[in-house]
């Protein structure tokens, strides 16, 4: 079980994330939603241990993650929002390096790497430098790197970004399957339809604060709205999209 208690993060004195508390249970998929700049990626980075919260704590199975970072990271798989990968390494070399950094035995690593590359349709390009990969290809490499070591916690920040339809479908099923196998899955996305299909539980952020934290079914009942999109629009949307659209068109034509 992954729990955030009163997690806050300040940047230059301004709270990017404020008093965020929720629980992600194993066996379920927790969707993490919010507009751009609402603090989703910041939260996931804190959960991944990349940055420290200014206040609050993050616990895994009741224990603060700082207490034994090494053990926590051994069980963590993370796909960041930006596909930052070493451009001079090939896809195969990158996965090999990640596996070695995680201490996977050489033979097992080689087999798993090959298998992942085949399954994610990267095998033909495995010796091509990552700098030549498309966005979708890089996303697949990130995914493979996050799952190579059979993590208990899977954090996915915009994992569908850049994926083609086929790969997106596969990923959706993988996420569901991971949850079925007892992993803690926390993922953020802008694709509300996907979140609605995959998640058992959602947390909605607006301006760094949690504005909803419940199962989708429960939210529908509470807010009397049929879809997650409408719930999200009510709680977190910041702009009058129609008005903004008109203004942009006028600017182009001016």
């Amino acid at each position: 079980m992954l729990e955030l208690r009163g997690v806050t993060k300040f940047y230059s004195g301004i709270p990017a994330v404020e008093d965020v508390s929720f629980v992600a249970y194993p066996g379920g998929v927790t969707g993490y939603l919010g507009p751009n700049g609402s603090g989703k990626s910041t939260t996931l980075r804190m959960v991944a241990g990349l940055i420290e919260p200014s206040e609050g704590e993050i616990l895994f199975h009741g224990e603060p993650i700082q207490r034994n970072r090494i053990a926590y990271k051994q069980r963590l798989g993370y796909v960041p929002e930006e596909p930052h990968l070493y451009p001079h390494l090939t896809g195969s070399e990158y996965l090999e390096m990640v596996g070695q950094l995680r201490g996977l035995p050489e033979r097992q690593l080689a087999e798993k790497t090959d298998a992942f590359l085949r399954l994610l349709a990267l095998y033909e390009d495995r010796y091509v430098p990552i700098s030549s990969y498309s966005k979708g290809m890089r996303q697949k490499v990130l995914l493979a790197a996050a799952l190579l070591h059979n993590p208990e916690i899977v954090l996915l920040d915009e994992p569908f970004s850049g994926l083609d339809v086929n790969s997106a479908l596969v990923l959706r099923n993988v996420i569901r399957e991971l949850a079925v196998r007892g992993k803690v899955v926390l993922f953020s996305s802008h694709e509300l339809e996907t979140v609605e299909r995959v998640s058992s539980h959602v947390v909605i952020l607006h301006k760094g604060r949690v504005v909803a934290n419940d199962s989708i079914e429960q939210l529908r009942v509470l807010m009397s709205l049929p879809t997650l999109e409408e719930i999200f629009s009510r709680l977190a949307l910041e702009q009058d999209t129609e008005a903004v659209t008109q203004q942009i068109v006028q600017l182009i034509e001016s």
Partner: protein, 908 residues
């Protein structure tokens, strides 16, 4: 329609700042600051050269014509320097004139004509090149031409013009030549192959420029430029072509410059034409094709080097973390142009230093041949090792794709000590080990086994020392740590460290060279280096084990600057707050820190004492006393005599030599008269004597010795060097005993005062004595003792070894100091007066001085000594220097024979 001129100006400004790949030096640094620093460095070099040239030329005593000829060497040097700077600029701006993928993608969709882009790139390149040439010539270009101009204002202006035209032409030539090379490669091979070749061409050009600069022979003389054996070489050395151009423009002084100047112009025209053509073609033909190609060539899995490294990593490193770090490091260096370029800069500096030393070996200035142990080759391997280790270590801190380093944070599943160990193994594996292997192959091939092995042992220990020290307090994963915002990495202080390194390395190599000649010395050197390597390893291991250590991913300000964090950003987390104030040695007392060094010093002293004692025992066994000791009042002196007849020849040796050094001459003299050599107090097998012990004291000791040994007069006194003063003083004290004299290149009281070491102040002599008395008993003198490389004529190896052993005894060294200052003995000799009508022969070395003027004066002074007696005569021993007893012993024997004959004739 967009204004083409405005587009040109915008693009020109952007291209100018991107001309040199300064991102290499600073990920987020200030480009303008770096450019200014580069220009300032070049201007500083120009200033230093101007400071050196101006006084030398202004104060020269040569005639104008002679000066102008002598200036050819300096002119060629300045041209070569400009060529070198322009060449390095061309290397650093490699491919900058040709179209690249970024320009194609960004400018392609915009309404910018290809010709505008090309013109802007050319103009930017020309500007940057011009600034480089101007900066390196700014001071020399205003002073040197005037110094080498004919008298007259118009001539000075002509000379200035000729200088600047030459420098611009020389710089332009090398830039165009390298641009032509790039352009030809781009035209002749596929774009993919060109990308692969390009970085190797860049590195090869870099090393070629450095190699030519440092290895160019000194040919800027009439024989050098006109010698038929040099013509082929001159055809390939651009600095000499442009020397010819300068001379032709300035008013040629020799017809040889004509064809050199035409070669310069022709080659410039050819290089320029090719460069312009191929660059233009590249822009026309490749711009669109470039967009379709990746900038980085797909990694060739079958590349032998890649497979070898992967194989070695798998075989030699059992831990996955070690393999991960090594492979990541090797691949980054191999594939990142920025990192390779920075590494090449370090390698280039090292190569430059090594080549500067190698020059003496190549052109025959070195005393030793290449197949003998020699300083240049020792230095070369040390420099190669040092710059390889330090270069790769320096490159470690240059990040690559810094945002991607998150993967190391996420996968930090080992203790920091494991990562530090992995980095250490990577640095060894990529730097020290390859250098050791290459060095071992070379040295075992060209040198005898023992010195090669010893040098390799030294190289291994120095490599360990360098790696351990360079990684001390290094908490980063290579290439995975960011810089502080705005930080520029052109460390001008590196220049100062480089100079210090030169001095230290030069001294160290000379120590090693000295140590390799004797096993005892090498043992001491090895022990010290081993102790240092072990200490460095322990320090690094202690640091790695420190419980406060974390891997560092962000470059932080000094630990003393701690953010108060009033905004509650939580930036200084436990993982990232490096606090060097938490020193692993915090809490260790001064005593605990000093203890290892004290123990090491104590062990060294004890070993030295044992070494000295054993050495003395062995010497005693190997070199038993020759002669007999006689008591002269509380101490004894040693004397050896043989032969029959009168007068008795008494042989007085020079400063620092034992009596046994006369062994060959005494043996021959003993065939026709009685002959004795003896050891002064403290020398040879005699007891130490009074302090000071000048000629008068020595003479009195000799008198007592001859009485104690019952050797009656008359004596024929033979004095060599300082011994000449002693025999003259003896004659002054005991004139009735002396029947004749031979002075063998004797010291002269009128010259002695001009030699600084003979007027040493007393306090310095006291310090010397103290040094000898303290360090002598712990073996330092014995370690320093050298046997002569060549045996003096007629002496056996055993006799030489005996003399060497006697010279290097502690008491002999102390005795030498007690005989100083030599000027005291000189004044005693002056006061002793003339020799009356004594038969006297003065032998003078024909090569005592290398300076002809000094030698002439020396012969004249020695002639004055011959006038001390009315029966004196001088004999110049043409084929000998000062050491006539070793270099021309027969002349001494003949001189003694002549004086013996005269004395006997007087007696009869």
């Amino acid at each position: 329609m967009p204004d083409e001129r405005r587009q040109f100006r915008i693009l020109y400004r952007d291209f100018l700042f991107r001309m040199v790949d300064l991102e290499v030096l600073s990920a987020r640094g200030e480009i303008l600051n770096l450019l200014v620093q580069f220009a300032a460095l070049l201007a500083a070099l120009s200033f230093v050269l101007a400071i050196l040239f101006v006084p030398r030329y202004a104060a020269s005593a040569l005639s104008k014509q002679q000066l102008l000829v002598a200036a050819w060497g300096d002119e060629e040097f300045l041209i070569a320097t400009t060529i070198g700077v322009a060449g390095l600029f061309a290397v650093m701006s490699w491919n900058a004139v040709l179209p690249d993928r970024r320009d194609s993608l960004v400018l392609g969709p915009l309404p910018v004509r290809i010709r505008t882009m090309f013109a802007a790139k050319l103009a930017a390149a020309a500007t940057a090149l011009g600034v480089s040439i101007a900066a390196v010539n700014i001071f020399t270009g205003l002073s040197f031409p005037v110094l080498v101009a004919q008298p007259g204002a118009l001539d000075a202006i002509r000379s200035l013009g000729a200088y600047w035209v030459t420098m611009i032409a020389a710089g332009l030539f090398v830039f165009c030549a390298l641009l032509a090379l790039q352009g030809l490669a781009a035209q002749l091979v596929s774009y993919r192959l060109f990308l692969r070749m390009s970085s190797f061409l860049q590195l090869a050009s870099f090393f070629l420029i450095l190699g030519v600069y440092f290895l160019t022979p000194p040919l800027a003389t009439v024989p050098g430029l006109t010698g038929p054996e040099n013509q082929r070489l001159l055809a390939f050395l651009p600095s000499f072509w442009f020397l010819g151009l300068f001379q032709e423009l300035n008013g040629p002084m020799h017809p040889v410059f004509g064809h050199l100047a035409s070669r310069a112009l022709w080659n410039l025209a050819i290089a320029f034409s090719i460069a312009a053509t191929v660059s233009g073609l590249a822009w026309l033909r490749h711009l669109r094709r470039i967009i379709e190609q990746p900038d980085i060539v797909p990694a060739d899995r079958s590349h032998p080097a890649a497979r070898i490294v992967t194989f070695l990593a798998a075989k030699c490193l059992s831990k996955p973390i070690d393999r991960a770090i090594l492979l990541f490091t090797a691949r980054t260096i191999a594939r990142s142009r920025q990192h390779r370029l920075l590494l090449a800069a370090y390698g280039g500096i090292g190569l430059a230093i090594a080549l500067a030393y190698a020059k003496s070996l190549l052109y025959g200035y070195s005393k030793e041949a290449w197949y003998q142990v020699n300083v240049p080759l020792l230095f070369g391997s040390l420099v190669l090792l040092s710059f390889t280790v330090l270069g790769v270590r320096a490159v470690f801190v240059l990040p690559i794709s810094n945002p991607s380093s998150w993967i190391f944070r996420i996968t930090a599943v080992y203790r920091p000590a494991s990562y530090f160990a992995a980095v250490r193994k990577s640095l060894f594996g990529l730097t020290a080990i390859p250098v050791w292997i290459v060095s071992a192959i070379l040295y075992f091939a060209i040198w005898p086994f023992r010195p090669a092995l010893e040098h390799m042992a030294v190289l291994v220990l120095i490599g360990i020392l360098l790696v351990e020290r360079s990684l001390h307090k290094f908490r980063k994963i290579p290439f995975a740590c960011s810089y502080l915002p705005g930080k520029a990495n052109l460390k001008v202080a590196l220049g100062a460290y480089g100079i210090l390194f030169m001095f230290a390395a030069d001294g160290g190599v000379h120590i090693e060279f000295w140590a390799l000649h004797r096993f005892a010395r090498f043992s001491v050197l090895f022990a010290i280096l081993l102790a240092a390597a072990v200490w460095a390893r322990r320090r690094t291991a202690e640091f790695a084990r420190d419980p406060y250590n974390r891997i560092q991913f962000e470059d932080l300000p000094a630990a003393e600057v701690f953010a108060l964090d009033l905004r509650r950003d939580g930036a200084w987390s436990g993982d990232e707050a490096y606090v060097d104030a938490i020193d692993p040695h915090f809490g260790r007392s001064l005593g605990a820190r000093v203890r290892p060094f004290a123990i090491g010093a104590l062990l060294l002293i004890l070993s030295g004492i044992v070494y000295e004692r054993v050495g003395e025992w062995r010497d005693h066994k190997r070199f038993p006393q020759i002669g007999r000791s006689f008591d002269i009042g509380g101490r004894s002196l040693n004397i050896y005599c043989s032969g029959e007849g009168e007068p008795t020849a008494i042989l007085e040796s020079g400063h620092s030599m034992p009596g046994f050094s006369w062994v060959l001459i005494q043996r021959e003299i003993a065939k026709f008269t009685r002959a004795c050599w003896y050891d002064r107090a403290g020398s040879g097998w005699s007891d130490p004597g009074p302090d000071p012990n000048w000629s008068a004291s020595i003479a009195r000791d000799l008198h007592k010795l001859l009485q104690a040994a019952r050797i009656p007069p008359p004596y024929l006194l033979v004095g060599h060097s300082m011994g000449g003063f002693t025999v003259r003083v003896y004659n002054g004290l005991y004139p009735a005993d002396v029947a004749g004299m031979v002075l063998v290149d004797s010291s002269h009281e009128d010259t002695i005062s001009r030699i600084p070491e003979t007027t040493t102040p007393q306090y310095l002599l006291d310090i010397q004595k103290l040094f000898l008395e303290v360090f002598g008993p712990i073996g330092l003198l014995r370690l320093s003792a050298d046997e002569p490389d060549t045996l003096p004529r007629g002496l056996t190896r055993e006799e030489c070894a005996t003399i060497s052993s006697l010279v290097w005894q502690v008491k002999s060294q102390v005795a030498q100091v007690r005989e100083r200052p030599l000027i005291a003995s000189a004044e005693q000799a002056r006061a002793a007066g003339g020799l009356g009508t004594l038969p006297l022969v003065v032998l003078t070395g024909g090569k005592s001085y290398t300076n002809p003027g000094h030698q002439k004066a020396w012969i004249e002074l020695q002639a004055g000594l011959s006038r001390l007696s009315s029966r004196g005569r001088q004999v110049v021993v043409a084929n000998s220097g000062h050491m006539i007893p070793f270099q021309a012993p027969q002349s001494v024997i003949e001189a003694v024979r002549d004086v013996v004959t005269e004395i006997r004739r007087d007696g009869s």
